[in-house]
């Protein structure tokens, strides 16, 4: 495998771990909070999932920046000014800030989990949709609207599964 294929592989693994981790974090939060308390076993599961999420994030960041380096040295600098790339970077910064706020308990886990879930799916979506015909502000505004909408929607879904909030 050449260097570029390795980068693609690492980037996909990172995204899979991130999207999968965010999805399972949401599922386990719903399961754990049905009785209103998170017991030590559930805490342990959530810790493992957040460790997977962090590994996914790290792989995505390292491989993502390596792509940018490859674009620079192969003369494809115009790719660095794609609106989609900057929207993806914005989402990545949002994922990091959200993780930091969850970690120091500055925001409730239920809100943080919703933001992480939407953000990881958005990052994957932006990576998959190669010819996205929208500008930076259109993408970021749509993302912000979806994040804001996802919080009450996920709260409603959690209530349907018997979560005591």
């Amino acid at each position: 495998m050449d260097f570029y294929t390795w980068l693609v592989f690492l980037h996909i693994v990172g995204t899979v771990l991130g999207v999968g981790g965010a999805t399972f974090a949401e599922i386990f939060i719903v399961k754990a909070m049905r009785d209103g308390i998170v017991n030590p076993e559930e805490t342990d599961y959530l810790r493992s999932i957040y460790a997977v999420l962090r590994i996914g994030f790290f792989l995505t960041i390292i491989s993502g920046f390596s792509f940018l380096y490859v674009y620079r040295i192969t003369g494809n600098e115009e790719l660095l000014y794609q609106p989609k790339l900057w929207a993806k970077l914005t989402v990545i910064v949002a994922i990091a800030v959200n993780a930091m706020l969850i970690h120091i308990r500055a925001i409730p886990l239920s809100v943080g989990s919703a933001v992480a879930l939407v953000s990881w799916y958005t990052a994957m979506f932006l990576g998959v949709w190669r010819t996205l015909p929208f500008g930076y502000f259109e993408i970021v505004l749509t993302y912000a609207v979806i994040v804001v909408a996802a919080i009450p929607i996920l709260t409603f879904i959690r209530k349907q599964f018997g979560v005591k909030i």
Partner: protein
């Protein structure tokens, strides 16, 4: 670009990204209610040494390649602001980042388990670590903007 400059640029990017990860880790462990001093010292040390490595490799690339071969290309291209504003800001902020990291590292090295730490010092360091982490992220984004403006 010769292999040595390619390597210097790659090293600058990778060490810078790892410094960003270390700095975010430092921020997270420092602001936790129950602090893990060993992890705080390790992540502060990692941030300092990684930034220093990125500083040296980036400085080498800047002095011997960027100034001679890249700056003029950006200035004559469609995005001259990438040098005039972003690089001008980046090269000044970049100069003092390792010193900022050194201040944090040497301050946390004095922490001892079980010893009370002044709340004023803790608050000051928290502000410093937040500023340093934010600046490292902005430096990374600035680097992408500068690289993207090279249009021969």
């Amino acid at each position: 670009m010769s292999v040595i400059f390619q390597s210097a640029l790659l090293l600058h990017i990778i060490l810078g990204i790892l410094a960003m990860v270390a700095s975010v880790t430092l921020w997270m462990v420092f602001l936790k209610r129950i602090q893990n001093f060993r992890l705080i010292k390790f992540s502060a040390g990692a941030t300092f040494f990684l930034l220093l490595g990125s500083w040296i490799s980036g400085g080498y690339y800047y002095l011997y390649y960027y100034g001679a071969s890249v700056r003029s290309v950006i200035l004559s291209g469609p995005y001259p602001w990438a040098h005039k504003i972003v690089m001008e800001a980046k090269e000044h902020i970049f100069l003092f980042l390792p010193f900022l990291a050194a201040v944090v590292f040497f301050a946390v090295l004095r922490f001892r388990e079980g010893e009370a730490i002044s709340p004023v010092l803790l608050r000051g360091l928290a502000i410093l670590i937040t500023a340093m982490t934010t600046l490292i992220v902005l430096m990374a984004l600035g680097g992408i903007a500068i690289s993207g403006a090279v249009r021969p």
